[in-house]
Every structure is written in C-alpha cells, then in structure tokens.
C-alpha cells in the first residue's frame, strides 16, 4: 500500500516539477518574433529628417522597401521620448557612415511621435547620418510586430527579415549582421542571420 502510494505520488509530482523546471528556464518577457526568415512587410513612408552627406534624402521624399531590393536595409524604430534610443544613436550613425557607398540603406522610423519633436531630438543629439521617416498611425510598426522602441530590423537584399534586435543596438553587432548579408549573393534565399552571425 505504501509502495503504491509512493509510486502514485512520484508519478503525480515528477511531471509537475519537470513542467515548472522547464518554465524557470524561460524568460516570460522575451517574446520571439515570427518575422526573421520571412518577407519584410512593405512600406512607403515620407521622409521628415533628411540625414547627412551622401545618405541624404530630401524631406517629403518617400522611401519604399520595394525600391531597396538588392540592398541590405537597416530599419530602426525610434522616438524622441525614448531614453534607450539615445544610447544607440551614435552607433547607428557611425555604422551608417561606415557602409556609405555600399549597398546598405539605413532608415529611421519615428514611432508614435511628432516630426517637430523628432527633428529637435536629432539636432540635440548632434545629427543623424541617415534619413528618418514618419509612420502615421504606427501602421508600419504594427506590420513589423513592434513591442516598443528601440527595435532594429536588418532586411536582406531579397526583402526578407534577416534579424531583429530589441533594445539599443551596437555598431559592432550591426556590422556583423550586415557583413554576413553582404557576403551572400543577393538572389540566394538566406536563413535568419541570428542563427549564423558570420
């Protein structure tokens, strides 16, 4: 009888303990995006901050993802009210300057903010090397499954999302992702870069 009871207790509790142990290995705040490896949602958005030098695009010009085929696109969602965006700003501009003249396009997307606040922020931060666009109604942000800012998407030459980064991104990480995509022929179907950073 005792053996039976013990066996029952073990059979009942072991799966529960195993389930809870597995639960402890997961971070509930970390939500895996289904986008990497899939075609990036298309967008056509108007420029409000032109960028600098060779990367400049006139204010009011539209930028469409469909027109950037064959280029690696770095899409960074930011806002003037976002503190973490300040941390990555220098790195993003530095990376954009580093890849100037190569088939790499950096685009900033202003998220739930107004153009004037965005422009003021850019001048406070000492400029932004690449153009930024407006996203009315956050439609593009929702298309990209945005949770918050900053979030950065790296899109390959075939228009597929290769990598998604949540939180401030570093120039070194961006360079690694971009280099891995530039090394691939643009017609190749690439696997998510998060799995093979180099």
């Amino acid at each position: 009888m005792n053996w039976r009871r013990s066996t029952l207790a073990v059979l009942g509790s072991v799966p529960l303990i195993a389930l809870f142990a597995w639960g402890l290995t997961r971070d509930p705040s970390e939500i895996v995006s289904p986008l990497p490896g899939r075609p990036a949602p298309d967008f056509t958005l108007g420029v409000f901050a032109p960028g600098e030098g060779g990367l400049m695009r006139p204010v009011g010009d539209t930028m469409a993802l469909a027109q950037m085929r064959g280029q690696v696109v770095v899409l960074n969602f930011w806002a003037s009210w976002c503190l973490a965006c300040r941390d990555e700003h220098t790195d993003l501009s530095a990376a954009a300057r580093m890849y100037a003249g190569r088939p790499v396009q950096f685009v900033g997307v202003l998220y739930n903010d107004v153009a004037s606040a965005g422009s003021q922020w850019i001048s406070q931060m000492g400029g932004q090397a690449y153009p930024s666009v407006l996203d009315p109604g956050a439609r593009t942000a929702i298309d990209f499954g945005l949770y918050g800012v900053p979030e950065t998407f790296v899109i390959d030459g075939n228009g597929q999302v290769a990598y998604k980064h949540t939180g401030p991104v570093s120039a070194a990480l961006l360079a690694r992702k971009i280099d891995s995509l530039l090394a691939l022929p643009s017609t190749a179907i690439v696997a998510p870069a998060s799995d093979n950073p180099r």
Partner: protein, 191 residues
C-alpha cells in the same frame, strides 16, 4: 482491499449517504461554472459566425451611427478583446488606453471593414507578433495543457476527497467500538 471495499459499501448503506451526496453535489457545483463558460464561449462563436456576413460599413451623413457601423464596432470590440496589448501587463487592446493598443484596434477595425474575416485578422496579428498576441492560447498541441490541467486538477481533487470520504466511512467497520460511536454520531445527526 476487499475488506475496505465491503466496509465502504456497509458505510454507504448505513447512514453515511449524506457524505457522499455532499461530495457529489460539491463536485457538480464546481463543474457548473466550467460548463457555463464553455456554453458562453460557444454562444460567442455562434455570434461571431453570424457576424461573418459581409458588411459595408459607411458613416452616415451627419455622423449618426448606422446599423452597419454598430455591427462593425461590435465585431471590432469582440476581436480586440482577444488580442493582447504588447505594451501592457495582461490587458487586451480593447481594454488598454495606450496609444499602440488604440492603433492596433483601428487596424482591426479597418481590416474588418475591408471585408476580412475575424480569422484572417487574427492570423495577421499572429503573423506579426506570434501566438503570444492571443490572450487565450489556441487549443492544440502543447497549449492543450492549459485547458486540460485545471480539469485534471479538479478530477484529482475530487478523487482525493472521494478516497478520504471512503476512509472516514470505512474506519468504523474496522474498529468495533469506534463504529458504535460513529453510528451514534450519525444517528444523532439524523435526529
């Protein structure tokens, strides 16, 4: 074991019926809300299916709400209540006042107005945010655990109580003086 069972049956016959009945009634009382929830969700599904009829929502001149507008609004609210707000803690985009939730709600409304079905709009959000966006997980695969565990726990609890009741009612038969006392107590309860 056989002795235990026969003593249990004796106890069943002699004055302890009310205990088992109490367990059964208790069990049914616990099951009732579950049955009600299932019935409610079935009714909701039926309403959603009824709302699938094509609608051409158009704001009437002067800003009054047409029946089509009201239907679209009801469909939007029902679907928005199923979708999780990404910037909140456990709130749906229907209940959250946050800017992103409101924008997502307007995406739901626009897609429904464009003739998309609830299933298609849900699939759109799942393709962007993953199944995390659904407040209730879809009942298949590993998700079934979330649905099965409460029922399993309820059954296990009922089983545990049944076993305990069996022990309580069986004990007097195993021990003659105690049985006499228990019968006396039972009799006293009945008077």
């Amino acid at each position: 074991m056989t002795e235990g069972r026969s003593s249990f049956l004796r106890a069943w016959r002699h004055g302890s019926k009310w205990r088992l009945r109490a367990v059964l009634i208790g069990g049914l009382t616990l099951l009732a809300p579950i049955a009600a929830t299932i019935a409610q969700s079935a009714a909701q599904d039926a309403r959603n299916a009824a709302a699938q009829a094509p609608v051409v929502p158009k704001a009437a001149p002067g800003g009054t709400l047409t029946p089509a507008d009201s239907l679209l609004e009801a469909r939007t609210s029902a679907l928005a209540a199923e979708l999780r707000c990404p910037v909140c803690q456990g709130l749906s985009i229907q209940d959250s006042p946050s800017e992103l939730a409101q924008q997502m709600r307007s995406v739901v409304r626009d897609q429904l107005a464009a003739g998309r079905s609830e299933r298609e709009v849900r699939a759109y959000f799942i393709s962007k945010y993953g199944e995390w966006i659904l407040l209730s997980p879809r009942p298949y695969g590993f998700n079934l655990l979330a649905y099965a565990l409460p029922a399993f726990a309820l059954l296990a609890g009922m089983g545990f109580v049944a076993v305990k009741v069996k022990r309580w009612t069986a004990a007097p038969a195993l021990d003659a003086p105690a049985a006499a006392t228990a019968t006396a107590v039972d009799d006293a309860d009945h008077t």
